[in-house]
Symmetry: D3
Subunit: 293 residues, 6 copies
């Protein structure tokens, strides 16, 4: 169960309205790596968890915080939009190209659809989609996904920081940056703990029997481009981090197989084959069958 409190975790009030920036801020609310994604992702991971205890509690523990971050951003966006320049027909606009630029640069659905309110979309107006969520049941894979989300998310917030000099907005971003710092550290730690407790290892899933994969290609770096430098990396020689093999470097593939012949499905799919055509000239069984059917 979830309970709501009409307070925010941090103050979220801009110094001044800025409809163009409101659009940009949508990215970290409803984008691929926005707060809706983190909130929903951690919740689904908790609901799909297979063991009780600290890992599931961890997921539940921050999912609700993230939903509160969605709220802070929505509240901030609504305030940035409060004075959104709906009145493009005013004389001021005609004589002031900056106003025209603002109208061009804002999310016009903020005005037309939401009446100066926030929306569950990204900064280009693409609606948030459940396709962003990862919850596989394998915690090492999922914590790695979580670390990635927090990195991409903090990156977007850092970029947004430089796109405004509004102190109120920057203050909120400074808070979110700090929480993203925590969450990057947290998921990294949790992934290490999973491995330290021997619950999962590289390669994920680690309890799939390794003898069932083609081990001869498990540590080969195969270079399918003509760059000279990939061989210099530690992925091209030395021990692999899973502790189970040694990297080697190869120019191109070490295996190959002939291309199978084209498929020849049922004639009733009407694909193009080398059976003569049209029907009148066809003598084959397939054609006869088609006619009779």
């Amino acid at each position: 169960m979830f309970f709501h409190k009409q307070e925010l975790q941090f103050k979220a009030t801009p110094d001044k309205p800025d409809a163009v920036y409101a659009r940009k801020l949508q990215e970290v609310l409803g984008g691929q790596y926005g707060e809706i994604t983190v909130a929903m992702q951690y919740e689904f991971q908790a609901w799909n968890a297979h063991i009780p205890g600290k890992y599931r509690d961890l997921l539940y523990g921050i999912a609700a915080e993230e939903m509160g971050h969605v709220e802070m951003l929505a509240i901030m966006i609504a305030q940035l939009l409060e004075k959104a320049p709906l009145g493009i027909t005013d004389d001021a606009v005609q004589s002031d190209p900056t106003v025209a630029a603002v109208v061009g640069g804002m999310d016009v659905q903020h005005a037309i659809v939401a009446g100066a309110g926030a929306r569950p979309v990204d900064s280009n107006g693409n609606p948030w989609t459940g396709g962003y969520v990862t919850a596989s049941g394998n915690l090492l894979a999922d914590f790695t996904s979580n670390a990635n989300i927090e990195m991409q998310g903090r990156l977007a917030v850092a970029r947004l920081y430089h796109m405004t000099d509004d102190h109120g907005v920057r203050d909120l971003l400074a808070f979110l940056l700090a929480r993203d710092t925590m969450h990057q550290n947290q998921w990294t730690t949790a992934a290490l703990e999973l491995q330290a407790e021997n619950m999962e290892q590289l390669p994920v899933p680690s309890n799939f029997p390794l003898n069932k994969e083609h081990r001869e290609v498990s540590y080969q770096y195969l270079n399918f481009s003509d760059g000279e430098h990939a061989k210099e990396g530690s992925w091209a020689k030395g021990p692999a981090p899973d502790g189970k093999g040694e990297f080697s470097y190869h120019d191109g593939p070490t295996t190959s197989a002939p291309m199978p012949p084209p498929t020849r499905p049922d004639a009733r799919y009407y694909g193009t084959t080398d059976v003569p055509n049209p029907v009148e000239k066809a003598a084959g069984k397939a054609q006869d069958k088609l006619k009779k059917e």
Copy 2:
């Protein structure tokens, strides 16, 4: 530039047709973590790279391999579909519920749209979307995304391994599992190397000045659920992996702010306010303005 060779990296021929399995295999071709995603993601990361040398060469080096994996899966799927039971009207179907089940379980667009061919969709028929791709320009963030993709992808392949006993299919999956083992190790190594070379650290982006974030909450585990066990994890005490702080544990938020008052946008957005209504009874300035405009 890309060049194609009419060979496969590994043989991809099933023992027998299996239209239901063909649908399942679409997941690792065109799903969120399928081969189209890895191919496109590595290519965009290479195109958006900011430094020449081993990291960019690495990205170019395996992007083309992954496009070949898309091909192997497409070729395999077409063969699994070669004998797809289009003829649901045959007597056999009526008397054999297994055939009916097959028709129900297959991707019907494989038959109707692609004429027994592969498609750029996932196992539920959702088209592949560019929204799956991550290429931020920050390599530690992106390599973490890549590690995640390879983990989620290997997980799906491992699950698919148990959903068939076709030796041809399993042989291809055993090859893909091995390559995913390589790629998990590779991205993990590359992420370590980036940090060892001091090009990027936790928290990403590490050259955003830390003094600009609210450092007092950068290492606090805030428990927004009532689970007792999250505090037992190493994310709740001890040094954080970024080497810059010490974790602490807190029941709930350590900060709060009053909810800002509701916004009151321009009357011409026609949102609901406490100004009396309808127009005839309104005395306020906003209403007068509306009438005159």
Copy 3:
């Protein structure tokens, strides 16, 4: 801010596993009118609200409850999937077409992607999208949307009730049906109260000056099909519910205007016009301009 408690509002445990039903239940979790929609919609309406007090409190008050409903359904789905028949290769399957049918009828991404877990998608596997959310800032419009959601949602739950005889599932559905009963009543009441308090009336938005619309067609029922019976309804005669006009009935349109001539955009759009072509034969100014540019 949101807080989570590791309890459910109602028990959500099935009598037995049922992977096919788990897929169906996704509709009311992640479908157009599922619980994610109601939770997100009420939250955005609250965040975008323009007045403090009972209406905004109402929105906040049930948004969090609905997020808990998402949780109950996710937990239920995970349990229905706990014994999902991954092992289609077992001998049992070959000889038992019912098992084959189950595999065909389940959401295969439940197995391949989520490892027997719930997902933020509908019963056909379409990801939930922010495009489902309505939060316009006009409360009479939005409460009508809310009433619609609760009606469509209760309808889906009622249909799902008859698709299982699992007592655990039916018990949860019986709870959700009752809450939907409450919420239909609630939004209907809230919409009436808005009107009673004269904050909004039909037609929405009611403070748009009526004299600015073409009042002569504001109460005309125009019949663009040839059915005889539409004229029998109370929408074709008598007073309109907005109290401001009288319905009338008309066979077809009461107004018409000639189709404007086709547009003739800039030649550099290369649309098809009646200017002769190809370039070599063109003598017109547009062509000359193109060549010189």
Copy 4:
């Protein structure tokens, strides 16, 4: 069957070109609540109707009108775009930031893709989707959806009215506003008539046996936020509008259930469990089974 006449229901010619406004107008053509939605929704409701007579005739009767509204808007948009400033490279642009703003604010696909023509998208360029359509077969639910669409649609038109001072555009909007007034009244009337004729009641679906739902929570307002004012509404006390119960107010949930234990699916899903790992150390049956399989 549908028949087309090369006339418009109302004149749709702008005074002057305005590419930025053309983009905005797309919202009411191809947005969530645009004319394509109403046309398609009423048609699907008619096709899925279960009774002949006035209700189905009503649906058929206005569906075709709405398709004509799609046409009027498309024709208007094409005219607004007729002089769209493709030539951003001209000197005029460099010296006139207003032109630059226009180019930035228009839908660039209007120029690049449609050659100065209308498109089936919303004002942010999101393609119209069948996911907007509601046609459940239950007419009270669907008429409520229709009323909502007409409200949201009229709201968007009213907002758009203030974003231009072009007389031709405003004249068309004034016509559409009037028709939306009619349609809001019409669906409200039709919903009342359905109830008056006892064909459907609250709660929808009203013929689901009420004794099968958990009646004890059917009229409880449960406050999951800490707002003080929700209890003041008529949804918190007094008779419910369905005439079958009495509202009551409660702080938080009146029921609860313990969270079920985490699920433990088949080992072959490779989710994270507390079985030790990696494979070499596993002694359990699941692991042995995996190795042998």
Copy 5:
């Protein structure tokens, strides 16, 4: 304007219910190449047309017919679903795997969402999208798109013909096949007429000045794969159909350019560069600027 008549262009009544086939039939109603696409595409092409007369009249003339085809298919689907086996809990199902297979093979949203009605989606349940529509303003390009749609559409109908032996369904398909024959011929004819009247030629757009393109590669077949046989086609030698050049064959590219160096955007994007890191060790100007900002 559009007018509706409560008749169908052809009878659309199945012999017997078939919920699985109803799902398949959705492909030609709401799929990429279904009837909604053709209806909307021809309408948008007409609305965006730049010349009056026979071409625009042609587009208007069949757009309305196609909307009637949408209707025939929707009506047919509703009838196929009329007896859809909602009652999976009945004893019959348990003992009859064919019923289970039917439930597995049908579109479950047909039951849960539409109450046994048609939906604006394809056979995999993906909603129809405006992204399918092509209306560029260039008629030769668009008529080629139209010819393609009619080909792909007739192909799907032909495949569907063999997936049922219901005489009522086949009769409707036989009608649609004939109309698709007409429309393939029609668009082919219209494309030829455009060229005969010298309104457009290959290459489209033909009035783009050819001297502005790199003519040296305009007729080169460049073979980027290692197949031996592409050189045998008439696209590799002899005159090109545009009458303006001669094909030639080449193994691989005839031009090349060095890859430009990686881009080095503003430091505030926080991409990975070879500037040392973290901040503390950075001495460069970019870092200083970041700290001070």
Copy 6:
């Protein structure tokens, strides 16, 4: 298998940065008819081909070239963005509305998400989707689709040519225009060759037995609009291009059928019927069954 070479087919370097144009160029990279579409479409057509030899080799032969075009555009876009004006807060912006216009006109995700890099989206920021791809197995249908793609694509490139005067950009576009000229000619030739070799004819699919379609309407132009001029076209009289029939012209439909009665599905779908309601007053069997169930 695919191999990559770190060279471009043509130089792709702009004279100067232009973030607004970078957004526009995304259309031909990731739009409906952009280079990702052609690359993926030709690959899937090759993988799904049913015959070896020149047609399959042709598809393989240019698919890889097109992937290289994706690369050229991505590289170009990254360079156009290299100096993207992230710093909207600088004083320059406040005093220079042109800068504001640029920020408004660019794809803000280029900055926030990709850090000044290219993305797999169109010029409105819609992600590329597998729904754009056509690969039916029927080569005449698919080659017609290919011809259409190359026409629509060249049209977009031609329009984009006039939206910039950057010599570097125009030079790349001039190269792409030439390759599109080749590909339009190529697919036209290939389609003719298929017919000359009697492998496929109009109407597609030509081996579906014509006697199974309703031949009486196979060559009728049916005018569903009131335009006078459609009858003047060669599609309304004379021989059809398939050589199998003669066109005729008709005002409106030549066939019709009564609308079937509405469907009456199972009562448990809770659609609206004329059975009285609510439950208490119902005497029918359906209601009794509902109560007991």
